[in-house]
């Protein structure tokens, strides 16, 4: 039986959340198998070393000849384990729409302009303090066909590994004050307001660079105990 600590709130969304229509035929209906906590917390996670990470992958505004349109932003924060310790040298992948709300992905048919100077994909490794940092432009909102007049709030997709099987995380980061946030079924699949708040970045005036870019800070906590190897 997987035992969750009494002090560890769990804000994970369910697999089935009918308001997000695509879950209806994709959420498993049978009960999931529960394995012992050892498997969950101590099994090694994917070895991500084959995923290429170049130093300039963390600056999404410098991947083309010119600069992308939109509001230049710095996205930074720390990646921590459940005990608040930094998760060092772990892979962080991000992807997003451009400032007009359009993805480069060929399956995106939203009639908003592509930006020849913006792909919207980045990677980096956290540093010795678990810090990641990206430079990008603020993504736009975009429509989706989940329900009438449905629009996704502006968001950046994040993918993180961490050291153990439990720590793998794919999620989305939202921007503070976005009026679409209360209306979004994907974010509202998290049943608790505090849990939803964990996905909203904070404006960071300290990190904001004068005459250059606004900064947003978003810390990420990965699941799994004992994620930092002990000294022998």
């Amino acid at each position: 039986m997987l035992v969750k600590g009494v002090n560890e709130p769990d804000f994970e969304p369910p697999y089935l959340f009918p308001d997000y229509r695509a879950t209806q035929l994709r959420a498993p209906k049978r009960e999931l198998v529960r394995l012992p906590e050892e498997w969950f917390h101590h099994s090694r996670g994917p070895a991500f070393g084959r995923v290429p990470v170049r130093p300039d992958d963390a600056d999404l505004t410098r991947q083309h000849r010119g600069e992308p349109l939109g509001e230049r932003i710095i996205l930074t924060g720390r990646v921590l384990d459940g005990d608040g310790r930094p998760v060092r040298h772990t892979l962080v992948e991000v992807w997003q729409a451009n400032a007009a709300g359009r993805y480069v992905d060929p399956s995106d048919t939203h009639p908003a302009p592509l930006d020849p100077n913006f792909t919207g994909a980045g990677r980096c490794l956290t540093d010795d303090d678990g810090v990641y940092r990206f430079v990008t432009v603020k993504p736009g909102a975009y429509p989706w066909r989940n329900h009438a007049n449905a629009w996704r709030p502006a968001h950046v997709h994040f993918s993180l590994f961490g050291p153990v099987l439990a720590s793998r995380l794919v999620t989305q980061m939202y921007f503070p004050g976005d009026p679409l946030i209360p209306l979004d079924p994907i974010l509202n699949s998290i049943p608790n307001a505090r849990g939803r708040g964990l996905l909203v970045a904070k404006f960071d005036p300290e990190t904001t660079e004068p005459e250059w870019a606004l900064a947003y800070r978003w810390d990420i906590v990965l699941r799994g105990r004992d994620s930092t190897p002990r000294e022998a």
Binding site: P13, A47, H157
Partner: protein, 146 residues
């Protein structure tokens, strides 16, 4: 203790960002595994991305327009499998066992209903192995609570 950051779906538009060159091949020469991801209506899932891993081996494969994926891995006892897709608010975890695995002594399979164990075992196929993933419905793949 700090609350873990909740999961959100990988969405439909990851194909330009998450795949990488050679991502489906954990090794250059090994066992080829092919399969398809299917939803509760038996329709293929063209917007999923899978990760398999075991020890130092790691591979990633996005499904194609038919929901099909493939991996090349070195033979091992089993692979851990993660499934990400539009419509999955959290990823799903499962395992793929090789056809010759000792299914009766495996500690994880001991916890799986014997009638459903076959959903975790690849079958021999031309050129390698076949392993389909059914997210829902008849013969739903056994998934592990994360």
């Amino acid at each position: 203790m700090t609350a873990p950051t909740p999961s959100q779906t990988v969405g439909p538009f990851f194909g330009f960002a998450v795949p990488f060159d050679g991502d489906a091949n954990a090794v250059e020469h090994g066992v080829r595994i092919e399969g398809q991801v299917l939803d509760g209506a038996g329709e293929s899932v063209p917007d999923a991305i899978l990760e398999v891993f075991a020890g130092e081996q790691f591979a990633r494969c996005r499904t194609d327009s038919e929901g099909a994926f493939h991996f090349t891995v070195a033979k091992t006892a089993h692979l851990e499998v993660f499934v990400f897709a539009r419509g999955l608010l959290r990823h799903l975890a499962t395992r793929m066992y090789f056809p010759d695995a000792d299914l009766d002594s495996d500690p994880v399979l001991q916890r799986v209903d014997p009638e459903r164990r076959h959903t975790l075992v690849a079958s021999p196929a031309e050129g390698g192995l076949r392993f389909d993933i059914r997210l829902q419905g008849e013969d739903e793949t056994v998934f592990i609570q994360l």
